[in-house]
Each structure stands twice: as structure tokens, then as C-alpha cells.
Subunit: 169 residues, 2 copies
DNA sequence: ATGCTTGCAAACGCTTTGCAGTATG
DNA sequence: CATACTGCAAAGCGTTTGCAAGCAT
């Protein structure tokens, strides 16, 4: 690793915990790993590998996309990061640091915004299904699609005005 | 189209409805399209493009995978077919003819089996969330992962015997 | 000093697309 | 007969991997 790391990177994340967690897993703490995790913690939003990569590059220009992917795999395996999918198009993987309350995501088909939603119904569904089928649930991938309040309103107005087919499917 | 079509293909699907539906959409009925839809109806299971392709090739050896993809896109757009994802690994798209009752899927991490589950909780969640957020839900992608009754039992037995780490996590 | 990590670039797997010939309505 | 559709092959896209050099411990 030759490119200079911006000062301040060192204190960005590692509360010594990461160091330790990695060590237990037989892995090493590197500036890249610390940085990537810190980016995920700072931007509490939802980033894909490329988003993480470009944000992280502000601090660490030499960072390679492959390293981002590999680091995400490690952090995921260690349970520090979760991988999610948004919207119907699941081509792209998104990542999110763990620690927040259980939540799911809803993507607005109008503005693309992703909002987080909380509901106990998914768990409830799993509990109920488990009871009468014996299936043991480990994970649920849930992503909602629709229109946020604003876009929904805008659309209903458009529909009223144009009347010719402003609506798209 | 030169390869011979197996006799019987003609009657396989087109209840004249497909023909009509396609026509309305400004499209044409081709043996490929009829076949692909019929495959999806016959195998009520869950197929990816390649699965559809190889099944369909029994009847139509010349069928090209690209045609399968294009046809699926058309049928999806016409609302005759739904595209789904299974398990956490969403690399691959699966397709399913519409018409069945609303259901979701649970993939067994042990044997790979995909079972269909019905639950009103997803709808309920959407209804509730919609009420207090104004979000208008259009679609929900839900896929469960876990262990089917059999695999779950097998795993718990293994865990009891080995005791050294038969569990994989 | 040991070997886990990184950067680079090539490979991968699934899906999409450009093009010229073909068949449908 | 116009043109939507197909087969073929190549491109696309996000993600993964082999390899040699480079760090962390």
C-alpha cells in the first residue's frame, strides 16, 4: 500500500474492538478495513460496493474495488455488516452496518428514495409459519416497492390532469 | 424458424387467449412464446431462465436462451408471468406463471428445496405501514431462508452427536 | 519472518443487445 | 407485405478470483 492515507483515518473507526474482533477471527486490522467499516457507520444510509468505494476513496485514493468487496465479505461473515437488496431489481447488493433496530426497506419507484420501515409482521409471519410447517427460519429478505407519500400524491394529480396516460403501467 | 416442432406443441397452451392478449399488446403469437408459457404452466414449480430453456428444448430443440429471456420479459410485462428471487443469493431470477393464490417462498439451506408459504402478514404489514407513512405499496419481494422440518431435525441430531462443531452457522 | 491482505486485471455467471434472416398477421 | 420475432454471438454489469507484491503481527 503506497498511497498516503489522510490523517485522521486512524482514529476513524477502530475502538480497539474491531482490532480484537478481527484478531479472534484470525484476521488482521488494516486501514482499508477500518475505513470501510467507518464509512458504513458514518453514512447510516444504504450503500452498494461502488458507493462505499467512492466515499472511501476520499480518504484513501488507492483503495481498490475488489478490496471493498473482500472486506465486505469479511465484515459480513463477522456479523458486523449486513447485505441487503432493494427494490425489485436485485442486481445490486447494498450494505448496512448492523446495530440498528430490525427494519426493512421500501424503495420509491418515483424518486428512488429508500425509506426504512419497522414492522413486527415479518417476524410474526415466520413464527406462525414455523409453528404449522416445522420450517425453521433463519433469514428473511424483504423489500418493498411503491411510491412515497410525495410521489404518490404527485402521481394522483398528474393522473387527474393529463387523463391521457401519464400513468405508467 | 426451421427446426421441426414436435406435434402437440400447437395445442399445448394457446387457449386463443394468449393470441389475443399478445395481439392487443401489438405483439405476435409465436410457437416459442406459446411453448414457454406452457412450460411455466405445466411445471408449477419455480424455474430460472435456463430451466425453462432446457425443458422447452425437449419440444423445440432450436430454442435459444435469448429468446427465453425476451419472451419472459414480454410475458412479465403483460402480467402473465411473475419474476421472483429465492434465497439470499439473488443472482438468479426465477419465473412463475401468475394465477396462483398469493404466496411467498422459503428456501431450505439444507436441501435447497423451495416451499411455498401463505401468510396474510405481508399484506397486513403493508396496510399498516401505508396508514401511518403514506407510502403506497406496489410490490413486495419476500423470500425466506431456513431449514425445512426434515433438515432442521437432521441438523439438531448432528449437533447433539458430534458436539465438536457440526454446526456451520 | 510468516502469511494474511492488497491492487491489478482477468474471469465469471446471468442477462441484455445488435444484427441479419425469418415468419406472423 | 410490413415488421415483429428469432437465433447467434458479442457485449454488459456487478461480483469474484489468481497472482505477485506488501503489510500486520
Amino acid at each position: 500500500m503506497s498511497p498516503k492515507v489522510t490523517p485522521g483515518l486512524a482514529q476513524m473507526q477502530p475502538p480497539a474492538t474491531l482490532q480484537e474482533a478481527l484478531h479472534v477471527a484470525g484476521r488482521r486490522l488494516t486501514p482499508q478495513r477500518a475505513l470501510i467499516l467507518s464509512v458504513l457507520h458514518q453514512v447510516d444510509g444504504h450503500l452498494d460496493a461502488e458507493g462505499i468505494h467512492s466515499l472511501a476513496q476520499h480518504h484513501y485514493p488507492g483503495l481498490n474495488l475488489a478490496t471493498v468487496y473482500r472486506t465486505l465479505a469479511v465484515l459480513k461473515e463477522m456479523g458486523l455488516v449486513e447485505q441487503r437488496y432493494f427494490a425489485r431489481d436485485h442486481k445490486r447488493e447494498y450494505y448496512e452496518a448492523v446495530g440498528k433496530r430490525e427494519h426493512y426497506h421500501a424503495t420509491c419507484l418515483g424518486c428512488g428514495k429508500v425509506i426504512e420501515v419497522e414492522t413486527p409482521r415479518i417476524r410474526q409471519a415466520q413464527r406462525e409459519l414455523s409453528e404449522n410447517s416445522g420450517f425453521v427460519f433463519v433469514h428473511a429478505c424483504v423489500c418493498f416497492e411503491g411510491y412515497c407519500a410525495e410521489c404518490a400524491q404527485a402521481r394522483s394529480q398528474d393522473a387527474g390532469e393529463g387523463e391521457a396516460g401519464a400513468d405508467g403501467a
